[in-house]
């Protein structure tokens, strides 16, 4: 039954506490667009995306009106393009990126994700060509996101791919140095990548997914912080209960929007991703939730424990609210996209080492971290390897999205604008890991991968 308190609470969440649907993402399979002629393949890709997602933005806007809830992004994820590139060896893979950009422009979506390769056990045809084309692809397009999966609990870590990705991340930043190195902000390196992730830059449409489906990513750090602020003296388990109840409400809204979008577009409903996704806007920060729990500043001792509790409570509350939870589902900690994290990093309280520890207990990884422009590719690779090891051993998704600030040093900042925010250049260790990275090969899968 409707009651006045509930109605006003919902309106307050949306009006004052930045509650929104972060994204509705349409996953589209491009497996039927494979062709030995790259130009023909690109045309098929464009046609398929436009035919499926042509109404996505209009439907998103209609739902925004119906429910009075903002839907910040309308996005598309596609089959990893390396699989299409495999069929046309020798072709210019960047043509696929341009075709995706053309489709993004026609559909009016914010991003298309899936300029991706899955190389956790090794490179197959198309993979290496796609990876080597990433710097150019992200420099000549605006709305295309790229991801590479270099490891998994089941297969270990492909250290050749880790070494290559260090170079690619650096080169991607260099190619877009005149635009605050924005290319690197659209590139993520995964361990245990998920196939139904609606969030960028890591969204792609896995091969086990249906032809076309709708995913929803919710948001709501501001709502959680506000709920906690009403109980300044509650114990930690009481706080966990408050977070669970709040996450339930947020997720129900995601479920409703997803079901409605699926009905209006006539495609199956995929998943609701429970992640608490922050924005640089005031009052929409995951760091501020942790500070509300009693930390003077995010990044200080106790941060990992608070984050572990938050992440777990969000899942417990959310999982009952949706019939199909999936994606990454956890609390995000992208430094440049979170006002509290930016402050903590600028103050030197939040460091890369602490962030690495935090990624062991939350979704997703070292995300949107600006590092000095002089960083070597080997150091980037070593950071990727560390993070992938955490994901591999803990059977969870981890990711690295570093932005080398070309021409900048510690103390300076990069300004991306919009949801990507801005980030201070954070220091990295000076000691080299080049010898380790140059060895290549594969880190074998851990013992607990043998479950059968």
């Amino acid at each position: 039954m409707l009651n006045v308190y509930n109605i006003l609470e919902t309106i307050r969440m949306i009006q004052d506490e930045c509650l929104d649907i972060r994204t509705i993402t349409m996953g589209i399979s491009l497996l039927d667009c494979i062709d030995t002629d790259i130009d023909r393949a690109c045309e098929k890709v464009y046609e398929k995306i436009v035919s499926r997602a042509g109404r996505l933005v209009a439907v998103g806007q209609q739902i925004e009106k119906e429910y009075g809830i903002p839907i910040v992004n309308k996005r598309i994820s596609v089959t990893p393009i390396a699989m299409l590139a495999a069929a046309c060896p020798g072709g210019d893979v960047v043509k696929f990126a341009k075709a995706l950009q053309r489709a993004a422009d026609t559909c009016g979506v914010n991003f298309i994700g899936g300029y991706s390769a899955l190389v956790h056990k090794g490179f197959s045809a198309g993979d290496e060509a796609l990876i080597r084309s990433i710097p150019e692809a992200l420099a000549v397009t605006d709305n295309i996101c790229s991801s590479v999966n270099i490891g998994s609990t089941k297969s270990g870590i492909n250290m050749d791919a880790v070494a290559l990705m260090g170079q690619i991340v650096k080169e991607t930043a260099q190619r877009t140095a005149d635009r605050d190195c924005i290319g690197a902000a659209k590139l993520v390196v995964f361990c245990n990548a998920v196939e139904d992730n609606p969030f960028m830059a890591g969204a792609f449409h896995g091969v086990g997914e249906p032809d076309c489906e709708i995913h929803v990513g919710v948001s709501g750090p501001g709502v959680v912080r506000s709920a906690l602020s009403k109980y300044p003296d509650a114990s930690i388990n009481e706080l966990a209960d408050i977070i669970k109840k709040t996450a339930f409400k947020i997720t129900r809204m995601g479920q409703l929007v997803g079901a409605r979008a699926s009905e209006l577009l006539g495609v199956p409903f995929g998943i609701v991703d429970l992640s608490l996704a922050p924005t640089p806007a005031i009052g929409d920060s995951v760091a501020h939730i942790l500070e509300e729990m009693g930390l003077e500043m995010c990044g200080t001792h106790g941060t990992t424990a608070c984050l572990a509790m938050l992440n777990d409570a969000v899942k417990k509350g959310g999982v009952m609210a949706s019939s199909t939870v999936g994606g990454l589902s956890g609390a995000f900690i992208p430094v440049s996209e979170d006002a509290g994290m930016i402050d903590a990093a600028t103050a030197g309280v939040l460091t890369i080492e602490k962030l690495e520890a935090m990624t062991a207990v939350c979704s997703v990884g070292l995300d949107m971290i600006v590092v000095p422009g002089e960083i070597s590719p080997e150091t980037i690779s070593a950071i990727i390897a560390d993070e992938a090891a955490i994901g591999m051993v803990n059977t969870k998704t981890t990711a690295v999205r570093l932005i080398p600030a070309i021409g900048k040093k510690e103390g300076e900042t990069l300004e991306f604008g919009g949801l990507l925010g801005s980030g201070p250049v954070m220091p990295v260790k000076e000691s080299s890991a080049a010898k380790f990275i140059s060895r290549g090969g594969r880190i074998p899968a851990p013992m607990h991968s043998l479950k059968n």
Binding site: M1, L2, V4, N6, I7, L8, I11, E66, G68, L256
Partner: protein
């Protein structure tokens, strides 16, 4: 299908009249109204049946929102499903 119209802001002459007038013009039937005036703050929640509307629901949302701007009030028009799904198991 029902929608909830909430009006919050400084009290003034004729708010209820203007809001329900738009409902009538658009064919939305007012089912229930709860309102209170505390000091000079006006808060009203109106439940309307939108099944028989002869116009788009989006148009009702836009007209209410425009009325809110005109009167300096915060007016939200939302489908009731959002409240039902968020606040009940």
């Amino acid at each position: 299908m029902r929608a909830v119209v909430t009006v919050i802001g400084k009290d003034n002459v004729g708010i209820l009249h203007k809001v329900s007038g738009i409902c009538a013009e658009m064919g939305a039937n007012v089912i229930e109204v709860t309102q209170s005036v505390l000091q000079d703050m006006f808060a009203m929640i109106m439940l309307v049946d939108i099944t028989g509307m002869d116009k788009d629901f989006a148009e009702l949302v836009d007209r209410m929102s425009a009325l809110g701007s005109e009167l300096g009030l915060s007016i939200h028009t939302m489908h009731e499903d959002i409240f039902n799904s968020m606040h009940s198991v």
